[in-house]
């Protein structure tokens, strides 16, 4: 048994970690209580097997690539960072990337991850044409929109609970360069931030970084980052058409003592960040895709900043109607506490594609909290506001929501469960997350 945790390092639990070398080996590894694990970037307990965990990052071969269509077939353990570094210079990028490039294709499909373009281009699953799935029952099936569509739509966003994704065929977008033309807008409060995001609906990429310790008149003040793929003619002379992604060199060597993160340091950081961004507001500039999409990747192991006890991310989505009041309420409570960390992220989402996909048209807010004190009670309180507003929480970030919160948030759950049962009648595929939220007790 090995101690395993997600990116938030909470909870830490025992699971038997297996690293098969062949697809046949993956099949052999599946027994009662197994789940697939990609690169462990889900925050909570989604990628921890109830009994055993099958590590997939060894499977990183590209099967085929057609430069005429941008269609690629690859093994599910391939990291997005690898895909970007390999195909970016050839003029191809994934349609959708999350806030870190260190996720696997399997993990990106299983969480149907969203990027800064979800409001106009949808989620990761939209660009997946088919998958090769090892079901809990022991079959290997190809699933697509036409073939085994139930398995296909349950696997997109299904958090690994339909089986192990072995391979996927997906479409890449063509780009002229690896640069993004970025425009920063500063918003002095929540209304301004939401207006700016609405106005950015036609921008390919948009996201807001909220200062979540600002209170009163400043509540919700933020910086909105809009982005478009830059063409070759927009680059300064001499710039390579594809930038180099630096390895995250500087790491956090040890767990910082919990004291380092206190309301004063957080407040100082947010103040500085907001002011520096506001100074740049209005103009536009061309930046490398790496800092634009993956600002946190430059600091390796940054999750250790939160200390040994780990941290929780709370990411909810609130349907558009009535979102303003609920977001203001949540942000107000968070600001009064003062210990939500660094910046919060606010962005608009569109329709999700998978049966259990997180996105729905509305606003999503993501907040980080160190694990300490009464944080679990506080988050339960926030959940009640989310539920009352017909919102839901993102499973890829969750480590603690209640069954009730989950069940109300995901009304398609019974349909998902029926498909899951047909693919895995014996109930072999189980994670700590599914034990906590799905499985009959």
């Amino acid at each position: 048994m090995t101690l395993v945790s997600g990116w938030g390092r909470f909870p830490v639990v025992d699971s038997d970690v297996l690293r098969p070398r062949s697809f046949a080996g993956v099949g052999d590894a599946i027994a009662a209580g197994t789940i697939a694990r990609g690169n462990g970037r889900a925050y909570g307990d989604a990628a921890i097997g109830a009994v055993r965990t099958v590590a997939m990052t060894g499977f990183d071969r590209v099967r085929s690539f057609d430069p005429a269509t941008g269609r690629i077939r690859l093994e599910a353990g391939t990291l997005l960072s690898d895909l970007i570094e390999t195909f970016g210079p050839r003029g191809f990028l994934p349609f959708v990337v999350p806030g870190t490039r260190f996720v696997s294709i399997g993990g990106a499909i299983a969480a149907d991850v969203h990027g800064k373009n979800h409001h106009c281009e949808g989620g990761f699953g939209r660009y997946v044409d088919s998958i090769l799935l090892r079901t809990g029952q022991g079959e290997v099936i190809e699933a697509s929109r036409e073939q085994n569509p139930d398995a296909f739509f349950a696997t997109i966003g299904g958090m690994g609970l339909t089986g192990v994704i072995l391979e996927a065929t997906m479409r890449l977008r063509t780009v002229e360069t690896g640069w993004i033309r970025e425009r920063v807008i500063s918003a002095s409060d929540l209304d301004a931030a939401m207006r700016a995001l609405d106005a950015g609906d036609s921008a390919t990429y948009s996201v807001a970084w909220i200062d979540c310790v600002a209170r009163g008149r400043d509540l919700g003040r933020s910086l909105i980052y809009l982005g478009e793929h830059a063409g070759k003619d927009e680059l300064t002379d001499g710039a390579a058409s594809f930038p180099v992604g630096k390895d995250p060199g500087l790491g956090v060597p040890v767990d910082l003592p919990a004291m380092t993160l206190n309301r004063h340091s957080i407040r100082a950081f947010n103040e500085l960040y907001y002011r520096m961004g506001a100074r740049r507001a209005g103009g536009s500039r061309v930046v490398s895709l790496y800092p634009y999409f993956f600002p946190l990747d430059s600091l390796r192991d940054w999750n250790r900043i939160y200390g040994r006890r780990g941290f929780l991310q709370h990411q909810c989505v609130i349907p558009e109607a009535g979102a303003r009041a609920v977001l203001a309420d949540i942000l107000g409570r968070v600001a009064r506490r003062g210990d939500a960390s660094f910046l919060a992220v606010l962005k608009k989402l569109g329709h999700g594609d998978g049966i259990l996909s997180f996105p729905l048209p509305g606003y999503t807010l993501a907040l980080d909290f160190p694990v300490r004190g009464d944080i679990l009670n506080f988050l339960d309180e926030i959940d009640r506001l989310v539920v009352a507003a017909s919102g839901r929480l993102y499973l890829a970030k969750d480590a603690r929501q209640s069954r009730a919160t989950f069940a109300v948030g995901y009304p398609a759950l019974s349909r998902f469960n029926a498909i899951r049962k047909s693919l895995d009648p014996a109930g072999n595929i189980r994670s700590k997350l599914s034990q906590r939220l799905f499985d009959e007790v």
Partner: protein, 246 residues
């Protein structure tokens, strides 16, 4: 036809072999993957073609079948610019202590076969006047240890062969690289206790091999820390060394 450089990787299906083939293909080399099970190498060949748009060939190669070596070299469509031998077998020291067949296999896989095949290529390269030969040896060959001296002694023999070959071949325009990875996280070392700061991932070894070929380095300790560690281990007096538990 193509003026691209080419490399052949012997032992292409190992983790280090895969990583090395990727590093060379990424740098624009056409690659030949050679190994015992050609069918098992096919997915890796497809991976390299799809990723880097280079030509990838497959060849059957068994390091224990020394009788096949001349036919293997002669059967290649063209002489490559670089030959990289990743082949090796860790084996189980305890078994090798009493099982002569197992000890023999370890010795032959790490010393006899790799030396003979690189020696054969050396003759062809010298006749042509250029080329690079890379042997992946081990820090374990720097000093025999109680816990793995069968493997270590074979690697020591291989290292000595490479340094001698280097001295001779350099006069004829042929370069020889000795690579000494320390701990590498691969399927060979899976389940072993590796010392974190001294352990690298396979792609780091692949990149180091490419660098060594391009920059004409003689001996590469993949993690620089190993050079120091092995310097200390090599200079310990025998009387003290034999009391240490490694």
């Amino acid at each position: 036809m193509t003026s691209r450089k080419s490399a052949i990787v012997l032992g292409g299906s190992s983790d280090i072999g895969r990583a090395t083939a990727r590093a060379f293909a990424k740098a624009g080399y056409d690659v030949v993957l050679a190994g015992r099970d050609v069918a098992a190498l096919e997915p890796d060949a497809a991976d390299l073609r799809a990723r880097y748009n280079v030509e990838v060939g497959l060849r059957k190669f068994d390091v224990l079948d020394t009788a096949s070596f001349e036919g293997f070299v002669g059967g290649l469509p063209a002489l490559p610019d670089a030959v990289i031998s990743i082949v090796g077998l860790l084996g189980v020291q305890q078994n090798a202590e009493s099982d002569l067949a197992h000890a023999t296999t370890i010795m032959r896989s790490n010393y006899e076969g790799p030396s003979l095949i690189l020696g054969l290529f050396a003759e062809k390269f010298l006749a042509r006047g250029h080329g690079t030969l890379v042997g992946v040896s081990s820090v374990a060959g720097d000093r025999g240890r109680a816990s793995n001296y069968v493997y270590g002694s074979a690697k020591a023999g291989f290292s000595a062969f490479l340094s001698g070959l280097r001295a001779r071949a350099s006069r004829g325009g042929v370069h020889v690289v000795t690579v000494k990875p320390g701990f590498v996280r691969t399927k060979m070392t899976e389940g072993m206790k590796l010392i974190g700061p001294l352990t690298v991932e396979a792609p780091v070894v692949g990149d180091a091999i490419l660098q060594a070929v391009e920059k004409k380095t003689d001996v590469v300790y993949v993690s620089g820390k190993w050079r120091l560690v092995m310097l200390i281990i090599k200079t310990l007096p025998e009387a003290m060394f034999k009391k240490l538990k490694f």
